[in-house]
């Protein structure tokens, strides 16, 4: 053997040994806490969770805590979007679908056709925070009509806030917008937050009243800067002096000084989004967050059952506030628990 091949051999050998040593010593290596934090049994198996990027942080927290006492369970949590999540779920590819809106009829039908049965569990409350730039003094409170005029399907092409004035007057909005560029940034169609604002702000209903066709009524104006990445949205709002955008409440909390939250008037006066106003639903754009669990898979997969048990337990559900979302009121949590235990 010559030096060259020997060197190569040594290199390869060392690499292999180092890797194997490292790999073999990696059993159950979550750092803090170790075992002993709650969870009863020690399960093993595989769980795949996908869906809403809003619910993703909650599910990821729960997964981590769950694994402290059940290290042999493999869990993946992803957040491509509520709609994408349901596609995977109804294709049988995921065990749990996170959702920031209830399942739609077409999706439910798709699941039914594929033979997928599920249970819907409400796990948290969230709000949609509508934001603008801090230097935009002209806007402090918008009502639902204003939202329709600025974001709805008929607003395509409105380049300034004042372009939306006429439409706002028509649908009962306050109007009186400044003549400043309307830079809209928000989630796109893959996101549950997109559907949620259409639903909660009554955009679809208003559109149908206005005579917009059914296909177009359930959509926002197509000409805004959309992104599935909340970071991009917040940056987009910070980047313009007269911007307009919306994200989930928890992300807005993290956004800090660069954005200004707007109050929303749902008919009972202007309400700002806070933990309390979302908890008691006085904030008009409040919504629930759900997880949808594949019941057939629960029967076969003990780890999955244990995970959902843990999710709804006091310890697991504390992840909701950890992640910055609003806890369910006690009675709704009990209702979810009894739905689950009734399986």
């Amino acid at each position: 053997m010559t030096k060259g091949t020997r060197a190569g051999g040594i290199l390869a050998g060392t690499l292999a040994v180092a890797l194997l040593a490292g790999a073999c010593s990696d059993d159950g290596s979550t750092t803090s806490g170790g075992s002993g934090g709650g969870g009863t049994g020690v399960a093993s198996g595989e769980i795949v969770v996908s869906g809403s990027s809003t619910v993703e942080p909650i599910s990821a927290f729960v997964a981590e805590l769950f694994r402290e006492s059940n290290p042999d369970v493999t869990i993946t949590v992803e957040g491509p979007g509520t709609g994408d999540g349901f596609e995977l779920f109804c294709g049988g590819e995921t065990d749990i679908s996170d959702a920031s809106r209830p399942i739609e009829e077409e999706e439910a039908k798709a699941c039914k056709d594929a033979g997928i049965e599920y249970v819907e569990l409400e796990i948290a409350l969230d709000g949609i925070t509508v934001m603008t730039s801090p230097v935009n003094d002209a806007a402090t409170c918008l009502n639902l009509g204003d939202l329709y005029a600025l974001l709805g399907p008929e607003s395509e092409g409105f380049g300034t806030w004042s372009d939306a004035d006429a439409l706002a007057q028509e649908v009962g909005g306050t109007g009186g917008f400044p003549d400043a560029p309307l830079d809209v940034t928000g989630p796109g169609e893959e996101s549950g937050t997109y559907d949620a604002i259409i639903d909660l702000a009554g955009i679809e209903d208003t559109a149908l009243d206005q005579g917009v066709s059914e296909d177009a009524a359930g959509a926002l104006r197509p000409d805004y800067q959309s992104s599935p990445n909340d970071n991009v949205i917040i940056q987009g709002i910070e980047g313009s002096d007269s911007s307009l955008g919306w994200v989930g409440f928890a992300y807005a909390q993290n956004a800090g000084e660069g954005v200004k939250e707007l109050e929303i008037d749902g008919g009972d006066g202007c309400v700002a989004p806070t933990f309390d106003t979302i908890a008691d639903a006085s904030y008009p754009l409040s919504r629930s967050l759900y997880i949808y669990v594949n019941t057939a898979k629960v029967a076969e997969n003990a780890a999955l059952a244990a995970y959902v048990d843990y999710y709804l337990s006091d310890e697991g559900i504390s992840s909701v506030s950890e992640a910055g979302y609003v806890d369910l009121p006690a009675d709704r949590l009990e209702a979810a628990r009894s739905t689950w235990s009734g399986m």
Binding site: F86, E87, E189, E190, P222, S226, S227, E238, G239
Partner: protein, 304 residues
């Protein structure tokens, strides 16, 4: 003892082993052809499916929004063009300047000290460059120079891609200039030309095909760059227009964006197939650029 020819022919076992080994090596080489074929086949099939099923109007509509069935090629190709153009504005002076200096001006000691700069820059992975674009280029450079620019822009991505491409341009151009025989330089100096004149009037024209090849390869690399764009250009699922000081989308970014969704999205069934179509376009584009640059490389290699 005189060996007879029969003794020289060797044992059958040796010959068998020889043939086996040769066959194994041939198989390895043939694999490369198989890989090319596989790339083309895998892309072609599904790209054709997409091309046949999609409405032609959707390819020329108001913006790239696959989930809504809008597959405006102008938007993403324009985005690619914009990022590539900006990156070449950065990489051409930096890369060629460095190449000329290293080849014509730097003595061996200076070369030893300065060349590593380029080599280290070449080793920076694109995901790190994407972070750099987001953390430094966008806030400190783009937003300082253009007040109203948002954080995610094609400009920031373009500048970062330019930095990424610079070492490639520099090393190929330097190779080309190094290959110019010093007889040419010496003749020029002998006629009284100063170094700048020799460089610009003699060496650069002599190495021109190599320099052009370097630039074309730089363009090809910029066209194919994904991570910087995905991280810093606003990587949005949908995009309209491709102004440099706005967020935007390129062909590669669109593919990455589609890949992180699910296979089928409600409404638009062709969404996932679009990834193969765009991939096919990308492959054809970069392949053509590489073939063209090959021609130029052959020209300068053959000359000297």
């Amino acid at each position: 003892m005189i060996a007879s020819p029969i003794d020289l022919s060797g044992s059958p076992a040796r010959h068998r082993r020889e043939r086996l080994v040769r066959g194994a090596f041939f198989g390895a080489a043939a694999l490369s052809v198989v890989v090319s074929a596989a790339i083309v086949a895998s892309l072609l099939g599904r790209a054709v499916t997409f091309a046949l099923d999609v409405e032609p109007g959707a390819l020329w509509t108001d913006g790239w929004s696959p989930r809504r069935g809008q597959y405006d090629l102008r938007t993403i190709m324009g985005g690619t063009l914009m990022v590539t153009a900006i990156s070449m504005v950065v990489a051409t002076p930096l890369g060629l300047g460095a190449a000329i200096y290293l080849s014509e001006y730097a003595g061996p000691r200076a070369r030893r000290r300065l060349k590593p700069i380029i080599e280290i820059l070449a080793g920076i992975p694109s995901v790190v460059m994407g972070f750099f674009a987001l953390a430094i280029v966008a806030p400190e450079l783009v937003q300082r120079l253009w007040d109203s620019a948002p954080l995610f822009t094609l400009m920031a991505a373009g500048i970062a891609v330019g930095i990424l491409v610079t070492p490639l341009v520099a090393s190929i151009a330097e190779d080309a200039m190094h290959a110019v025989p010093s007889a040419l330089r010496e003749a020029s100096v002998g006629l009284g030309a100063r170094r700048m004149t020799t460089t610009l009037r003699v060496v650069v024209p002599a190495a021109l095909s190599g320099i052009v090849a370097a630039l074309i390869i730089g363009v090809s690399r910029a066209v194919g760059e994904t991570m910087v764009v995905a991280m810093a250009a606003g990587g949005t699922g949908s995009a309209q227009g491709f102004l440099p000081l706005e967020p935007g989308q390129t062909m590669t970014g669109a593919m990455a964006s589609l890949a992180t969704g699910s296979d089928q999205v409600k409404g638009a069934e062709l969404t996932f197939e679009a990834i193969f179509f765009v991939g096919m376009l990308l492959f054809v584009l970069t392949f053509s650029l590489n073939v063209v640059s090959e021609r130029f490389v052959r020209r300068y290699r053959n000359r000297y």
